[in-house]
Symmetry: C2
Subunit: 334 residues, 2 copies
C-alpha cells in the first residue's frame, strides 16, 4: 500500500472517489474493500469513479504490499488486561480483517515516546499502513508517515485538528449524556473523575462534564484526575470525599475508574446509588460485573476498530474522520 | 540479521563460538550481546573466538537488519489478561530489549494456524528474527524460516526434538516437585487437572504427575483436562469430585486452573487445604491473591523471555536449548 512517489501526481484519496461517486467515504470504502454489502447501482458508481480516478489502478499496482498492518499502541503494557481499551480494540481489529489476508503487527511503546528505529521501520516499506492507538504525542511521526506515503489513521482524535485521519467515539456527547442524567436525578453535588487531560478521551469527556456544569447553576462541580485505571479511580474517589464530603453523584471517565471509586465508596459505608450515584464510560465487561451494575456510556470499541481498518485500507486523506455515536447504558448505579 | 545465503559456508552459530572459547552458550551470548557483566578474561576469550569464526563480521555485515523482532503468539486473544502467560512473557521480553534499539512486532494468531501470508512476511526480510510462543503446530513454519536464514527460537519445547532452538522451564521437574509434596503430606487420592496434552507444557507437567504416581503405589491417581484457563479448572474440579468424591489433593497445571478449582471446592463446602490440598503451576499474580494463598511451582517467566531473546540474537543452531529450573513456592493451599 505505500504508494510509489510520483511528482505532481498525488494518489487519489478515498474521499475523492466518494465525492465523484456522490456517496459517503464510508460507503465508498465498503464497496472498494468489499467489507459490507452495498446496493448494486451504488457499487457500480463507486467502481466507475475509482476507475476514472485511477484509484483501482494504484491499489492494484501496489505489488509491494506486505500484507501486514502495524498497530502502534502507546500505553503501559503492565496495564494490559481484558478490559483495557487497547486489548478490546485489538480484538475488534482482528475480527475486522478480511480472512487471513492481512496480519496485524502490534508494537507496544511507552506513551508519547519517540522511537527513531520504529519510525524508520514503519516508513521503510515493511508495512502497508499504520494505526496509532493511545497518546502518540507530537505530529512528527504522522508527518514522516505521510511523507513516506504510508497510510495512517489515528484511533482517537489527534491533538491538532487536520493532522491525521482519525476514528473516534463521540466522547463529548457521551459525557454530556451521563452528566445530564446525574443532574436530572436531583443530585446537587456532581463530581467527575476525569482521565488524563492530555489525551483526547480524557479532555473531551471532561469538556462534556464542564459543558453541563456551566448550564446547571444549582449544581456544585468538583474534579479529580485519574489515569483511566481502577487504582487511580479508587484514589481519586478518596480525594473527592475528603475535600467534598457532600458529593452525591460522580461521573467517572472510564469504567475501570468507576469500579475503583465503587470500592472506596463501599469502604466508606456509602451506598450506591442511594448516597452516591455513579456513572462510568466504556461499557467494558467490568461494568456488568460491578455490584450494583454500573450505568455507563457505551462506546462501540469493536466498530471503532473495524472502521479504522476500513478507513486505513482506503488510503485516507489527513482531513478524513469517522466519529461514532455513544449510547447511555442504564444499570443500577446511577 | 537474516544472513545472506552463501553456498557451503553456513554462518557460525553462537554454540560454535562458545565451544571454541570453552564457555557455555549463555556466557558467550552475554559477552556478544553485552547483556550481563562477564569476567574480563572470559569476555576476551569469547571475543577472540567470535573473531576467528567471523561471527562478529557476519553480525556487523547485516546492514539489512530491520531492528524488529517478530513475536508470533499462537493463542486466543480473548483469553488475554494480566496473568496470562503470553502477556507476562511479553512484558519480560520488552524489559530484556537493549534500550530502544529493537522493537517487538507481536502477531497474535489462532493456535496451530497456518498463515501463508504471515510466513511469507516473516521470511521476506521484514524482521531480524522470530520468537514462537504457544502451540505453533507443525514444523513447516520453522523449516521455512530456517531456509530463509531467519533466526527462530521457540518459547516452549518443540513437538519434535531438534527441529528448532528453544527456551523452556523444566516443567517435568516442577510437576514432580509439586506432586511429591502432595503425596508426602499423606494424601491418598491425588488428582491432577492437566493442561492440553498437545502442548509441551501440558504434556510435560502431566508426565511429571504420572512419574510420581507410578512410584507411589498407595496413591490413587485421577486426571481431568483443562485448557489452562480459570473456567476450565472450575469445570475439571467438578468432574473430579463427581467421579472421585474421595479426592483429597489436586495438582493443577496452571494457577488459573487452580483458582478455578478453588471456586468449585468452596462451592461444595470443601476446605483447602484441610479437606483438599491444592498446588498450582506458574506463580502468576493470581497465586498470591487466592484465599488461601496458592502453593505453586514458580517458572521464571521474565527470564524465559530474556533468555529467548539472548538466544535469538545469537543466531542459534536448531539443536540449541535453554531449560530453566522451576521452584516450589509454598503458601497455604497445599
Amino acid at each position: 500500500m505505500p504508494q510509489p512517489l510520483r511528482s505532481n501526481d498525488p494518489a487519489p484519496t478515498l474521499a475523492e472517489v466518494a465525492r465523484r461517486a456522490g456517496v459517503s467515504t464510508a460507503t465508498a470504502s465498503r464497496v472498494l474493500n468489499r467489507s459490507a454489502p452495498v446496493s448494486t447501482d451504488v457499487a457500480a458508481r463507486v467502481e466507475r469513479a475509482a476507475r476514472e480516478l485511477a484509484y483501482v489502478r494504484l491499489r492494484a499496482a501496489s505489488a509491494r504490499e506486505t500484507g501486514v498492518v502495524a498497530v502502534v499502541v502507546f500505553a503501559d503494557p503492565a496495564q494490559y488486561h481484558a478490559d483495557a481499551f487497547p486489548v478490546r480494540l485489538l480484538s475488534g481489529l482482528r475480527r475486522s480483517l478480511p480472512g487471513a489476508e492481512r496480519e496485524l503487527a502490534v508494537f507496544t511503546v511507552p506513551r508519547r515516546s519517540r522511537r527513531p528505529p520504529l519510525v524508520r521501520y514503519l516508513c521503510g516499506g515493511h508495512v502497508d499502513g499504520v494505526l496509532l492507538v493511545g497518546p502518540w504525542g507530537d505530529t512528527a511521526l504522522v508527518r514522516l508517515l505521510h511523507a513516506a506515503r504510508v497510510p495512517v489513521v489515528s484511533l482517537g482524535r489527534p491533538p491538532e485538528p487536520g493532522t491525521v485521519a482519525f476514528v473516534d467515539a463521540d466522547n463529548l456527547a457521551g459525557a454530556t449524556d451521563a452528566v445530564r442524567r446525574l443532574c436530572a436525578s436531583g443530585r446537587r453535588s456532581v463530581a467527575t473523575i476525569a482521565g488524563p487531560p492530555d489525551t483526547a478521551a480524557g479532555a473531551d469527556r471532561l469538556a462534556g462534564y464542564r459543558q453541563v456544569m456551566a448550564a446547571v447553576a444549582a449544581v456544585r462541580p468538583a474534579v479529580a484526575y485519574g489515569d483511566f485505571s481502577s487504582a487511580s479511580g479508587e484514589h481519586a474517589m478518596q480525594r473527592l470525599l475528603d475535600q467534598r464530603p457532600e458529593v452525591n453523584a460522580v461521573f467517572a471517565a472510564s469504567d475501570q475508574m468507576a469500579a475503583g471509586a465503587l470500592r472506596t465508596l463501599r469502604r466508606r459505608g456509602l451506598r450506591v446509588p442511594e448516597d452516591v450515584a455513579l456513572i462510568g464510560f466504556d461499557d467494558a465487561p467490568v461494568a456488568a460485573r460491578c455490584r450494583p451494575g454500573l450505568t455507563t456510556v457505551r462506546q462501540p470499541v469493536e466498530e471503532l476498530g473495524s472502521r479504522a481498518m476500513e478507513l486505513l485500507l482506503g488510503n485516507p486523506a489527513r482531513g478524513e474522520s469517522v466519529v461514532l455515536p455513544t449510547r447511555l447504558v442504564v444499570r443500577a448505579s446511577g
